[in-house]
């Protein structure tokens, strides 16, 4: 696994890998894909990784690749992160994101224009080499003039 090194030399904290989230983490690390889960019994789509459907409790669930697009439900700009790896990158933008597939997740939004984030802003996963920088699925604003 590559060591993510932000600008000030501190590595980002690593997510704890478990049997439940391994598939999700590997999909991001190896393919830059964001996986959510979907229930084969009731079609509910959900995130974070769980062993059963939170709606009908069925264990008949599958991984669902997302298209990586979503809309901002809410957000905050963090000026005092609780880990030094983030100190040089403030404000850190955290957003609650409704994915096109229906699940919602809490995730980081990066990019020079990140403080322009608003409710309903359109987001997409960071692309290409940027993906390797971040230990978890990370988003950027879709610039309105290019959409």
């Amino acid at each position: 696994m590559t060591k993510e090194k932000p600008s000030n030399g501190h590595a980002y904290p690593k997510p704890k890998e478990t049997s439940l989230n391994r598939t999700f983490l590997e999909a991001w690390h190896k393919e830059g894909k964001l996986l959510v889960q979907s229930c084969k019994n009731c079609n509910h789509v959900f995130f974070y990784p769980r062993p059963f459907c939170p709606k009908c409790f069925s264990i008949d669930i599958r991984w669902l690749p997302t298209n990586g697009h979503g809309k901002v439900l809410s957000f905050t700009l963090i000026h005092r992160p609780n880990h030094p790896a983030f100190f040089a990158e403030v404000p850190i933008v955290l957003a609650e994101i409704a994915l096109d597939e229906g699940a919602s997740l809490l995730s980081r939004v990066v990019g020079e224009n990140r403080t322009q984030i608003r409710p309903n802003s359109t987001l997409t996963l960071v692309s290409g080499d940027m993906k390797k920088n971040y230990p978890l699925p990370t988003f950027k604003l879709v610039c309105q003039s290019y959409s």
């Binding site: 959900f46 709606k55 439900l73 905050t76 700009l77 000026h79 609650e96 809490l106």
Partner: protein, 196 residues
């Protein structure tokens, strides 16, 4: 007030003094038959409720489960919100107090701003809230944090709060909130207490 408003930003819109401090501590109450206690010192639980995981699946909740049981809470106690002499509400951040006041029926949803504007909230004000200063003043002693709202209410109702004693403190509401994980407030609770 200036110091509060100008404190450094932690996570917008929360500033330094909006965030509870972690601290060490413990609290306890003794539960027993009221006839073992001298007159004016026994505090009774008139009603109490607890509800978990509401609203389900909501990642940005601006409400908690208090609204599901508030009518039963007040009916069972035989009192209404305006009969309370003071309120102790769980305060990890100020917004949680506002949400509790709305969901417990002290005002309509979305109108807590007006309620707070209309009143002075100090121990000697027209609507005393968190008479001991709350967790935002003393810190949150881990899982012991929630019970502090009860010990402070008991202290007030026994007229033992000294310099911060609420005058004629006969009845109070104490409410709790916790186990917040991934946008879900797993647990809410509320109790109406009265001096016997």
């Amino acid at each position: 007030m200036e110091q509060y408003l100008n404190a450094r930003l932690i996570a917008e819109p929360l500033r330094l003094f909006d965030c509870v401090m972690a601290c060490s501590g413990a609290d306890a109450v003794i539960i027993g038959p009221t006839d073992r206690v001298q007159k004016g010192k026994a505090v009774q639980v008139l009603s109490g409720f607890e509800h978990h995981n509401h609203p389900p699946g909501e990642i940005i909740p601006l409400e908690g489960a208090w609204k599901l049981y508030k009518d039963r809470l007040w009916d069972l106690a035989g009192f209404g919100p305006m009969d309370m002499n003071f309120v102790n509400a769980y305060d990890d951040y100020p917004i949680m107090v506002a949400i509790q006041l709305e969901d417990l029926g002290f005002c309509a949803k979305g109108e807590v701003g007006r309620l707070l504007d209309e009143h002075s909230l100090a121990y000697n004000g027209s609507f005393p809230i968190n008479t001991g200063g709350g967790q935002l003043s003393v810190g949150q002693a881990g899982m012991a944090g929630g019970l502090m709202l009860i010990t402070e209410a008991v202290c007030q109702l026994r007229q033992e709060a000294g310099d911060r004693q609420v005058k004629n403190a006969l009845r109070a509401l104490a409410s709790g909130y916790g186990m917040v994980g991934y946008g879900h407030g797993l647990s809410t609770s509320a109790a109406i207490l009265a001096v016997n």
